[in-house]
């Protein structure tokens, strides 16, 4: 991997030129005492020293409400797909969120290529950043392997703790992206230090079970009392899913113009923890209980996706811990319950 170095001032100047160019540039900005991704209108707002953002960057690859088809009612020939048109860059993606995008890439391309996702994805440059501050509930190292973020990233920034960043160039797109910046090849000293700085900020939370042991650990725990206990406290509000960087379930929605002359079909976020999620033909709901829904969510996070895609459905960002109003959604807490209660119930 090619390593470059750039001063913080030079990086901001470079982002400044990007922002005034044709690209949509997204990055982290301060937001009411917290941090959030937003479209950058000035490089000065960009914050790379964030702990954790309110929402994940998945919103730019898988928007909450995305038009996918336009049509005139009653005229099948009028149906035309709608694809993303603008090139975009996301600057400042933590390794966990980057691994989540690697997982989304797999999910949206396995078996059948999802053209809407892939079109937008191909127009996107992803620049990661290793955390410079601990996240309140981060446990990413328990959930991802260090190489997984590189399946999605075009480049990674490493804050060197002085006035500079090291840039790891991962793809040709990343190389091209930074070619217009003032970055220079990193020195041998710089390279050695960069490797250390990557792990300088430690996780706040550690999962008690190793990632590879999670699927067998969860085997046979489908009827464990923890689901009923936590389900009794669940609002089925969807927040644990909407804030999650890996969740990709969607629903389809038609909107017809008042003239009835044209309509748009949208893909909108859905969530397996919502009560109507599993309603199918005839109005049947095959997952009517909150307990079953939260169990399904955790199994997706820690078992099913690992087995299916080889990447975890949870990257340990900790957002669901903050977002769940009754605080029942955090995977490490649920695992603790499963471990603790195991003794009594097996």
């Amino acid at each position: 991997m090619e390593l470059l170095q750039i001063s913080k001032k030079e990086l901001l100047e470079f982002v400044g030129t990007l922002v005034s160019g044709p690209l949509d540039v997204f990055g982290v900005v301060a937001h009411d005492g917290r941090f959030a991704y937003d479209k950058l209108d000035s490089a000065a707002n960009l914050r790379l020293d964030f702990d954790e953002t309110l929402y994940s960057p998945k919103q730019y690859l898988f928007p909450p409400k995305d038009p996918v088809l336009s049509y005139t009612p009653g005229d099948a020939a009028s149906c035309a797909p709608v694809y993303a048109e603008k090139d975009q860059a996301i600057i400042g993606v933590h390794p966990g969120d980057m691994a989540a995008i690697a997982m989304l890439d797999k999910a949206f391309t396995e078996n059948k290529i999802d053209a809407h996702y892939c079109t937008r994805r191909e127009k996107t440059t992803l620049v990661g950043i290793y955390p410079t501050k601990p996240g309140k509930y981060r446990f990413t190292s328990s959930m991802i392997k260090p190489e997984e973020p590189y399946l999605a990233a075009d480049a990674f920034l490493i804050d060197m703790g002085d006035d500079s960043y090291t840039i790891e160039i991962v793809t040709d797109r990343g190389k091209e992206f930074f070619s217009a910046s003032a970055a220079k090849p990193a020195t041998a000293d710089g390279k050695a230090k960069a490797e250390k700085m990557k792990t300088a900020v430690k996780d706040t939370v550690t999962l008690k079970i190793k990632r590879e042991d999670l699927p067998p650990f969860l085997d046979g725990k489908e009827r464990h009392p923890v689901w009923e206990t936590r389900g009794a406290k669940c609002f089925s509000c969807g927040s644990c899913v909407t804030v999650c960087p890996t969740c990709y379930c969607f629903d389809m929605l038609d909107e017809l113009d008042l003239s009835f002359d044209y309509g748009l079909r949208f893909r909108t976020w859905d969530a397996c923890v919502l009560e109507p999620f599993a309603v199918c033909a005839g109005g049947h709901n095959f997952r009517t209980k909150a307990a079953d829904r939260i169990r399904h969510r955790l199994y997706r996070k820690q078992k099913y996706l690992l087995e299916k895609l080889g990447l975890a459905g949870c990257v340990g960002c900790g957002r669901c811990k903050t977002a769940c109003v009754p605080d029942i959604a955090f995977p490490p807490d649920i695992d603790d319950d499963l471990l603790r209660k195991e003794a009594h119930h097996v």
Partner: protein
């Protein structure tokens, strides 16, 4: 032929019909789709039968019930629109008092016994007659009203959200009101307003009524996590007479 549509009001502030009258450029699109035959706020006249009747307001007197039954008998489809009609809305606060005479005394004082002020505990429209569709909210959301009209004219079932306000709130990227020290009813309230209150830094008061199976019991956890009192939660539930179940 365009469907004949009529608008009626009972106990309410008429704010919801104002939302319809204020549809601005969409009003033209609307009258292209339907034939409005009765609408006190914007025209005079009446018709013997209606394809769709929109009912606004709560039922609070025996004579309301008779009038509503008559409208129902002359309507093919009946839509209950606005919180007053769809859930009882703010008018149901009086039901929380338990004793209707106490309510009358508080509101009308020495005139409480006058015959034209006769009132009984508030009923939502569907508690009196069969309702085919609902448009929720206090006031209604104009885009949702249009969605229902379009579906009825096009012959599909209007797709009214069965999930909580939090979904829309999160899709808009808001910071949670609980994290800002608020008490928000978003987790138990039916979505469809595009989370307009939390998006404007105001906690949801539940004007759209509860989701089909609200878990009010989970409010106990919320009390602990955000260090709130039972009164904080109860106060928030009072505006639209919802039941917090937290004091039990």
């Amino acid at each position: 032929m365009k469907p004949k549509v009529a608008f009626f009001d009972f106990a309410c502030c008429e704010g919801c019909q104002l939302q319809v009258a204020n549809l601005e450029e969409d009003i033209l699109g609307l009258v292209n789709l339907v034939d409005v035959v009765e609408f006190r706020e914007v025209l005079t006249g009446s018709a013997p039968e209606y394809d769709v009747s929109f009912i606004e307001g709560s039922i609070t007197r025996p004579e309301d019930e008779a009038r509503l039954r008559d409208i129902r008998s002359r309507s093919k489809v009946l839509v209950s629109y606005g919180a007053c009609a769809a859930t009882g809305g703010v008018n149901k606060i009086k039901n929380l008092w338990g004793n209707i005479d106490k309510v009358k005394k508080e509101v009308y004082d020495k005139d409480a016994a006058m015959p034209h002020l006769e009132t009984y505990p508030t009923k939502a429209v569907h508690e009196v007659v069969k309702v085919d569709y609902f448009v929720h909210g206090c006031p209604i959301t104009r885009s949702e009203f249009l969605k229902v009209v379009k579906a009825l004219v096009f012959g599909t079932t209007p797709d009214i959200p069965q999930y909580p306000v939090c979904v829309e709130c999160k899709m808009l990227g808001n910071e949670c009101m609980y994290d800002k020290g608020g008490v928000c009813l978003g987790p138990v309230t039916r979505a469809g307003c595009n989370a307009i209150c939390p998006s404007n830094n105001v906690s949801c008061e539940g004007c759209r009524g509860a989701v089909p199976n609200p878990n009010n019991n989970a409010m106990h956890e919320v009390l602990a996590k955000y260090k709130l009192s039972v009164d904080d939660i109860k106060r928030q539930f009072t505006m639209y007479a919802l039941d917090p179940e937290v004091g039990k």
